[in-house]
Symmetry: C2
Subunit: 328 residues, 2 copies
């Protein structure tokens, strides 16, 4: 691989001049510019970003650490992030923690070691990863889930209101024994959506509420629904706190021939791209995912520009999309 000195020799100038040309300095003689660019082309020279980053003590890469690459919620959010990043001159590298705190810690460590310009993270709940980030000087924006013990820029949806909306919708449709399937304790989305569900059932004594906690994945939703179906106080409707668990629940119901929405009403948090293609179509609480990504990216751009500014929390609205699975 040719270096900047090879180009300098070829063009008969100093390395400093090559650097100036390549970085668009205005103080270079046009004739020099031409000579340098010719040499660059002839040698197939490509600047070594590693050396540049070391010298400048900064990079133009963002790490976006998400907890499940198979979740459509994140894919839409990533698009929003990318669009803003690209405009601001950053490239986005995606890291998939797979809801695995150990993986998350590995990726956080890599992002810090690689001196990434910023990190956007949907925490899988790792306190260690959060601590590393908070102790580092690297700008961080939390999305979807709050960073454990962290005071950083954050973009979330109104989980409580959204969950309340979904549950109240089931009540209004005439369901009476409404259960909730939610995620792990300590993950903010799981806890807040559970709170929204609880708030929607104000008259109910604590023990009347039927709550199952599992992970945020499809198999978890499947198992949770199975246990609800075979329990002695079987519910007549379920509010499920994320999309993948909703898919699992739906698959369980389909396999056992349970009639939805007749025997069992269903509302899921998070939109699903094909919610309108299944029969019955799925009622969901939708988030403005693309907008969420854009907002997070904008906060990160601002944070990089002004590291000392006060941390902001942006709460975006969720929206009920009523379909067949909750209408009997």
């Amino acid at each position: 691989m040719p270096t900047i000195y090879d180009v300098a020799r070829e063009a008969g100038v100093s390395a400093a001049t090559v650097s100036r040309v390549l970085n668009g300095a205005q103080t270079v003689d046009p004739a020099m510019v031409a000579r340098v660019l010719t040499a660059v082309r002839e040698l197939g020279y490509r600047p070594n970003a590693v050396a540049r980053n070391l010298r400048r003590s900064r990079t133009t890469l963002w790490a976006v650490i998400i907890s499940d690459i198979g979740n459509p919620f994140f894919t839409a959010t990533v698009r929003g992030i990318e669009d803003v990043a690209q405009q601001a001159g950053y490239s986005v590298v995606l890291c998939n923690s797979d809801e695995n705190p150990a993986k998350e810690e590995t990726y956080v460590a890599a992002a810090l070691s690689e001196q990434m310009a910023g990190v956007i993270i949907a925490s899988s709940g790792s306190v260690k990863a959060a601590k590393s980030l908070l102790e580092s000087p690297i700008p961080v924006v939390a999305i979807d889930r709050e960073l454990p013990r962290g005071v950083v820029d954050t973009v979330v949806v109104d989980n409580v209101a959204g969950a309340r909306m979904g549950t109240e919708h089931l009540l209004a449709a005439g369901y009476r024994r409404i259960a909730c399937i939610t995620g792990p304790k300590g993950v903010s989305t799981a806890d807040l959506r559970l709170r929204g569900y609880t708030e929607a059932l104000p008259g109910q004594p604590e023990q009347e509420r039927i709550v199952v906690r599992t992970d945020f994945r499809e198999q978890g939703g499947y198992d949770a629904m199975a246990s609800l179906l075979s329990s002695s106080d079987r519910p007549d409707a379920v509010f499920v706190a994320n999309n993948l668990m909703t898919v699992g629940a739906l698959r369980c119901l389909a396999e056992r021939g349970v009639d939805v929405p007749g025997e069992m009403g269903l509302v899921g948090f998070d939109e699903i791209p094909w919610a309108d293609l299944v029969r019955p179509s799925l009622t969901t609480v939708a988030q403005p995912t693309y907008e969420l990504g854009r907002m997070a990216a904008r906060l990160l751009v601002d944070r990089i520009a002004t590291p000392s500014a006060k941390a902001a929390t942006v709460v975006l609205p969720a929206e009920l999309r009523p379909r067949q699975s909750s209408t009997r």
Copy 2:
């Protein structure tokens, strides 16, 4: 941020010793090791990977450039790649080209500048990106689609056989006017799946085959199906060459109340996570996605170890998953 010299001073040793300890050299006095590790902890020292990479002239990052992060095919493949990469000591950074050659070129340029240890790419068709990669010394593995004009390690599925299988399945079910919706000319998957479709209809004169080309996205599939429905020689079945287009086609059929499989048979290439949840459930030609990712990653590990070895092409089998949409 503390540097290796801060640690050295704190521990009362030289920077070289700190480096040795951190890199697990066996030739260091245990007492030194302890002192160094204490200093590291006290200072919260974190090695600067940029400096290390510059010095070593290599990194431990792989760039995985995929053409659509929203496509379940890729998410499953990425999991396979990640699992092998992690075991081999590499981290995976994901780059989403969004079927956009310009974006792809940007990410390829970044991967080369950042001196990534290797690249796994599903080409969006950019000849320029392919050229940059082939001219560079960086190890490359192509997945899903062949790299334009490239002789590199490649992992693909048997597209021709899979498409033939899907089309023959429709023939066997009694459909007679079978159309094909495929992707852009020049993208190998689009062309090879079209060939498989063509091979399955040997008796048909050229003009009897009904072929629509569009992009590989949902809207493309929707539009293509709409045009087929309103054409004078409306088909009674369609073979669709990828999953996202199949979803679009399905949505179009649902909106217009066309009975599937009665009025219109449907087979899609690529599995879809919820193919069995829609009504009618979707017949698909499934690829071993996770295995494909693992294989690509293994090839990349080998290629990094032995840069001069001959390029290999691995062809994995596709598998028909018959469901309701093709059974009348």
